[in-house]
């Protein structure tokens, strides 16, 4: 009986600590920047808002991912950024639990503004899979045990561009999707989560591409949308086979955003594709030239879509019609994508100024700011009542310690 009471107590304590949800991939559970929780700090400038701040051993603009009580971050350091780091921190106090380092097998050349640790890792709750601009992929369990290593940069040395690679990973149904697309060679690989072996390798139209794949769920069907300058290719993640295609000029920087059974594609401004009928070719709901995301990917909240351009103009549109509702000028410039929780939008500019926007105000309103004091290009992450920011040198947790 004593054991049961203690178990119950521990369970409740754990639940209280981990209220909210994990953030296991780039732009959260649905790859749209939206958190499944509302209890996230909004007064970022409060005196005790920063739970902890820690130094990182290398550069990076990948987002942190959070699995339970652990935060995982990737970095690159050393000569030509050839040292690749995967680090696990305790979410409660920022203590480092473990770190693994690897040597890049592929080319690490990239634009000086970005870094080799540009793509965000992904987790299924049991594994953490990290990819770097060198196309090296590492799969570890949550305790830091190495499950597999793949040097896609060595296996396929031409699939690399000289500005750097940035597509983040997805894990779907036991398959790790790595979108590796450059001018010289392009493919998307479906790797077995347990071994890293190729389950399939899909040739793609050659062209530099920094967008990340998005999972589409409709009518019991789970597809993955691969974006490129050609449009959107929806594939079956189990086989890599094409299911439908949307063909139109599409951006290769901001990624598409999921809004229920609609995919908001950065194409001709923003184009809404309804894919609700599963494997049938999607229906174009609307197209808006007024909703035009820059580097940051769009996000959605309560029937609205938000597009942020590089200069800092935030445009709010009706997600059902694409009509522009209002615009708000934030302090830019921006590279990081906005994320949302509750009724608030969290945007951090390149100077490290985080800005919280109350989206329910008639024209939107910035309700708090926090100056992190250094360059931030990374998209924030939200999990278990906290928001995480990272720069080249530091990781912040804003929320309860």
């Amino acid at each position: 009986m004593r054991f049961r009471i203690w178990s119950l107590f521990l369970l409740l304590a754990f639940s209280a600590t981990l209220s909210g949800a994990d953030w296991r991939q780039f732009r959260g559970p649905r790859s749209n920047g939206a958190a499944d929780e509302a209890n996230v700090p909004t007064a970022l400038n409060a005196s005790n808002s920063i739970a902890w701040k820690i130094n990182l051993p290398g550069r990076g603009l990948s987002s942190p991912i959070i699995v339970g009580d652990r935060v995982f971050v990737t970095c690159s350091s050393g000569l030509n950024q050839q040292r690749l780091h995967v680090i696990c921190f305790n979410a409660a106090d920022g203590a480092k639990l473990w770190e693994r380092q690897f040597w890049a097998t592929g080319r690490t050349m990239c634009h000086e503004k970005i870094s080799v640790a540009a793509p965000t890792p992904a987790s299924d709750g049991e594994h953490v899979v990290a990819i770097f601009s060198s196309n090296d992929i590492v799969c570890l369990d949550l305790e830091g045990n190495l499950i597999w290593f793949r040097g896609l940069g060595r296996d396929y040395p031409n699939a690399n561009n000289s500005l750097g690679m940035a597509a983040s990973l997805l894990i779907v149904g036991g398959v790790v999707l790595a979108q590796v697309e450059s001018d010289s060679e392009a493919f998307t690989a479906g790797l077995e989560l347990t071994t890293g072996l190729n389950r399939w390798k899909l040739p793609r139209t050659r062209g530099a591409n920094w967008t990340s794949p998005v999972v589409l769920k409709a009518s019991g069907l789970e597809l993955v949308a691969l974006q490129s300058s050609q449009g959107i290719a929806a594939i079956d993640p189990a086989t890599g086979k094409s299911v439908w295609n949307y063909t139109n000029n599409t951006s290769v920087t901001p990624s598409s955003t999921l809004n229920g059974s609609t995919l908001l594609v950065p194409s001709q401004g923003l184009t809404a594709l309804e894919f609700g009928s599963g494997d049938a070719t999607p229906k174009q709901l609307w197209r808006s030239g007024q909703l035009r995301p820059g580097t940051p990917s769009p996000t959605v909240l309560a029937g609205r879509v938000f597009a942020l351009n590089d200069g800092g103009v935030l445009t709010c549109g009706d997600a059902a019609t694409g009509d522009r509702l209002w615009q708000l000028r934030l302090k830019g410039p921006f590279s990081a994508s906005p994320v949302v929780a509750g009724k608030f939008l969290y945007c951090v500019n390149e100077k490290g100024l985080a800005q919280v926007v109350d989206t329910t105000k008639p024209e939107g309103e910035v309700v708090s700011e926090l100056d992190l004091g250094e360059t931030v290009l990374s998209t924030p992450s939200i999990a278990h009542g906290a928001i995480y920011f990272r720069s080249d040198g530091r990781l912040w947790k804003i929320g309860k310690s």
Partner: protein, 393 residues
Amino acid sequence: MLKKLILPTLIVASGVGVALAGPTKEIAGPVQTLRAIGPEGLGNAAAAAAWKELAAGPATTLVPLLGAMDGANDYTLNWLRAAVDAIAGRELAAGHPLPLLQLKQFLQQTEHNPRARRLAFELVVGAEPATTDLLLAGMLNDPSLELRRDAVQKLIDQADQALARTNLIVAAPLLQSALRSARDVAQIEDIAGKLQGLGQPVDLQKHFGFLSEWKVIGPFDNTENKGFETAYPPELKIDLAAEYDGKQGKIRWQDYITQHKYGMVDMNRPCGKLKEVTAYATTDFYSERARPVELRLGGKNSWKVWFNGQLLFAHDEYHANQEIDQYLMPAQLRPGRNTILVKVCQNELVKDWTEEWEFQLRVTDALGTPIASTSPPRSADPGNPAGKQATKN
């Protein structure tokens, strides 16, 4: 000098055995599994269990694991490195000491894998930060690029301190010494800049060893970028006396000597500022002996490189980014004459930043030390007087 002598003396005096490298019996099985890993995940399935077994090992396996990196491929190196990280992290967290003397001895044995030695260095200085300077003191010419880079940086820092005191007599020789040892491109440029400020300019083209004398021919057609895959006559046979139909008429090989600081071979000069074109450059490289080398190319245009008639690598990308040693291509020099052929393409874009139609190339060892041709290239041969009318950049 005193510092150089101290460390080896300490190690020898400690009585540490010399047979440190290579896997011990206990770890031989799992190490063999990791060393069997190959491309495309070959061997991954078995490797996870082997890795777990190694990672659970005691600190005494650290040096044998580092020794197991000798001759390992890049995939295996990473598996072994992660095991070393796991063991060291666990032991340090538990307050247990690492086998520092053995690690130091491994570090001093320069025949081991450079990355393994660097890892040994980091484990040592992580535990004994005060030993950093002592360890680096003898590493100015180390085969590990990372160790050498740190040793060179110490000299640069000392020179900076002397410069801050306007003590040029001390600074200049420090910088000259640093320049002789430096292989990291950024460090070389940093040192050269400082020496330039002291009135001692560095001939960077010569220092990096960029190949400067070429024969070039073009333009051939590259409409819709199809020229990249089109095998024009120079790809089939290098005939320096031949005349071909180019994109704009008859074309012949021309001599080209680059005087560009970084050895750029600019095809706009012999061919004109054209679009949707491709051209070739060839040179001979002489060696007294067979040896492995790297051909190191930099450029913003699509390119292909053949070495002694064999395609080494090709990359089809335009106007993205350029840096020295952007692409490293291992090759094997043969004694006597070796032939290098470069194809460089220009696309249809017309903006100012798409004008470049050029490449740079050098031959080095694996560390980046330039290797010079042992005989004058073809354009300077007495039997080839055309060199006198060479296009100069």
